[in-house]
Symmetry: C2
Subunit: 463 residues, 2 copies
């Protein structure tokens, strides 16, 4: 179907003036005056609509072309227009698909909550069109950054037998029927025989993090990143948690904690800059309708040299702050969002890496510092959201790693492949994890993770 | 850790000559002569090693630095070398991580079958380093192609309640324990109450195709593509099937079957051209060691105008071929690989789109042709592999779509969201699916899908 994208038409507008053009799209709005009718058409290629102008004395148009949501193919003359920049004076309109009046997105303001009930249709609103345009550009920015810097994109497995964090909130993957029976027709008597008959011959689940496999890949490919779905069977029904979300996890060999901090700062600035440059209309839209301080906040990140303080310093700062925190602060406690926000928003007023967390509140794979108490781990805190990436240098020393695993009661035999990387030519290496959907929330100001995903998965919700 | 990538060193070699450089990497090989020792070091950034030259009279080096697999940091003078192009005359070597002699990748030729048993280590071989470099570049080529052409990358859900193909080979996703008991402690009596207590409150599985959600996204965003993992619980243990594989699925609104054929040809040529341009060493490696005709085969694809024939013509050609096929050919049968290969390798000797397949052997969502027997579906067949992408125009007419679904006994109530796209402003649209891992097999000549995935998932295998 020969036609031109509305984006192209509006970008190269002057070259199309006074030529005949064909556009396709959906009716966002239509109105009538005595002699002229107007249709706002959107084809998904850009936030802007093109206005179709129908001279009723000259052109006869199928009345269904005026139904909001209808799909049209329109041919006409592309002209300058005083009020709208450009418009199309219509010669013919073909209704590709009619839209009945029970279409839920009639011309009026809809609440985000209502739109959440129709995820399959909300892509036809400005809000979600803008959001998924930014999601697309942010994805590209991630790939582009790592590609240009010599990282290899690897596809780590989604179905896995290992449990990266030692957490228990994994989904199980199975081909056993819900009422599986053993070969002899009786119920399974034990777990082992049940899983022996399952697809993989062992218990399988959905990955909670690609890190361990990422480390194994990096220990040969040098620098890698993953960008794929990860899963947590979290029952917590918050605005920041989804059961299925996308994560970016680079892993860099021959890099220590200082190197990965430098990379993390460069990466975050680079992808924000990319989106602001390539999605100016969308970022402007969110700045106007969602968070009036959005552009200012993003510019602050771009223009700051990120700060750095130790966890121990952070605790002292919080204790001396005179603030009444809901969660009291003492050395050894995990920092809560209220603490993180104070440090980055009020104290330093810019992004900050907090380094050297207590070993006891961090994961087993983090490099143990000489003090015997802390690990070479850092969270990047940014104004407006708190933690955005978690980095660490990984423990490269086999003995120390095994000791940390044993202390946590982890079954070493399930981690033999991972431990092999420390046995055979271990190297200093570091990495971080970025929750991609949360990053999208950050660059758009959108406050609910459910709105950043096409079809969000949360407890009880599988639309 | 300040050091320089071996890739950069060899790419910009002349600018480093006679300067002091620091490199890191793993020992691929080491050998000794009376006064000089040599180490081949690889850091994963490129296929080539750098040779370290140790003058035994001048420099003392830890003997572990000569163990294959050990990780080193080496400092020395970068110089031209007659035999190797460039090499490093060593000043100091630090052993970052030793490698004991039970390292499985000692210097000798290993079979691919053996390497398959150590997926976590095989990334340290030339073969797999080359393979994952091409996988990375091919991924980037996919993103780059669609990004430049105005497609939005969307993340469709991995956990889903729908079953795109009407096939039954889905993995189930659950948080119910293997021996789940109902609330009263007794066994579940029926499926409904079992799934009501599951995480999503309903039966959930891993997606077999992103297409249906992709269509829904396109019907608002205009042009989209997905690139993510898909799953089939296939028990077939072949060289072409994995339980978890990556698929690329674009969906284009206002595009008919002719448009998507044009796009498919342009896309396939574009990503092959990209990989040949950016991975010359790797493609040369595969051409030398895996498939001597590889480069010729890829060039043939680039230089051909892809052919086009109807399924009906294809059947006639096969029947008149005089060939003894294992599966006899008659109108209405599905084309087997032997038929596909004959058409593209022997008959046309170039890639060919076979269009208008019988409706009965294709999926419900394909556009029904006016003949009442065939659908606007096409497979692209290429020499050396057979089918590589499956395209179709989608049925945009609600009544015809519903009729096709009812004919197949599909439960309409589970597809209401999908059907809404036909109810509210339906448009002609088309798309295709590319098995990404199979495409990687094609551009490398590698014949087993298990070798294209970092940690392949197949029945009984969850390494």
């Amino acid at each position: 179907m020969k036609h031109i994208d509305i984006k192209k038409l509006l970008t190269d507008a002057e070259s199309y003036v006074d030529t005949s053009v064909t556009v396709c799209g959906w009716v966002r709005n239509a109105r009538n005056s005595k002699s002229v009718s107007f249709i706002e058409l959107n084809d998904g290629t850009c936030l802007n609509n093109i206005q179709l102008v129908i001279d009723k004395n000259e052109v006869e148009v199928n009345k269904n072309a005026f139904n909001v949501g209808a799909a049209l193919k329109a041919v006409g003359s592309f002209v300058r227009s005083e009020r709208n920049g450009y418009e199309i004076q219509i010669q013919t309109i073909e209704v590709l698909g009619n839209c009945p009046s029970d279409f839920p997105l009639q011309k009026k303001r809809h609440t985000i909550e209502f739109l959440r009930t129709i995820p399959h249709l909300r892509v036809r609103t400005r809000y979600f069109e803008a959001l998924f345009a930014v999601r697309d550009q942010l994805s590209y920015a991630v790939h582009d950054y790592f590609h240009k810097n010599g990282y290899k994109y690897v596809h780590t497995p989604i179905i896995t037998g290992s449990d990266c964090e030692g957490a228990g909130e994994m989904f199980r993957v199975t081909t056993q029927p819900w009422d599986a029976k053993a070969g002899n027709g009786s119920a399974y008597l034990d777990e082992e025989s049940y899983f022996k008959d399952d697809f993989f011959g062992t218990k399988a689940g959905l990955t909670v993090s690609a890190q361990l496999e990422g480390e194994m890949a990096a220990m040969g490919l040098g620098r890698i990143y993953t960008f794929g779905p990860t899963f947590r069977a979290e029952h917590s029904n918050t605005t920041r948690h989804a059961a299925e979300f996308w994560q970016v996890e680079p892993e860099v060999c021959f890099a220590d904690i200082d190197d990965i901090i430098e990379i993390g700062e460069d990466f975050i600035k680079s992808i924000i800059r990319d989106v602001m440059e390539h999605c100016p209309d969308e970022i402007q839209f969110f700045n106007q309708w969602v968070d009036k301080g959005l552009i200012e906040k993003l510019n602050l990140v771009l223009e700051s040299d990120f700060g750095r303080m130790t966890y121990t310093e952070a605790v002292e700062i919080l204790q001396k702050s005179g603030k009444e925190f809901q969660y009291p602060v003492e050395w050894g406690c995990d920092l809560q969002t209220e603490h993180e926000k104070y440090l980055t928003e009020e104290y330093l007023k810019k992004p900050v890496f907090v380094v050297d967390y207590p070993a006891d509140i961090k994961a087993f794979y983090m490099k143990q510092n000489p003090d015997g108490k802390t690990v070479a781990a850092t969270d990047l805190l940014v104004p407006g959201i708190g933690e955005i990436i978690g980095c660490s240098e990984r423990e490269a020393d086999m003995e120390k790693l095994v000791a940390a695993m044993e202390k946590r009661g982890m079954p070493l035999e399930e981690y033999q492949a991972y431990l092999d990387t420390r046995k055979y030519g271990s190297v200093p290496h570091s990495g971080f994890g970025l929750g991609f959907d949360r990053m999208l929330m950050y660059v758009t100001g959108v406050s609910n993770i459910r709105d950043t995903l096409l079809f969000p998965r949360t407890v009880g919700n599988l639309f």
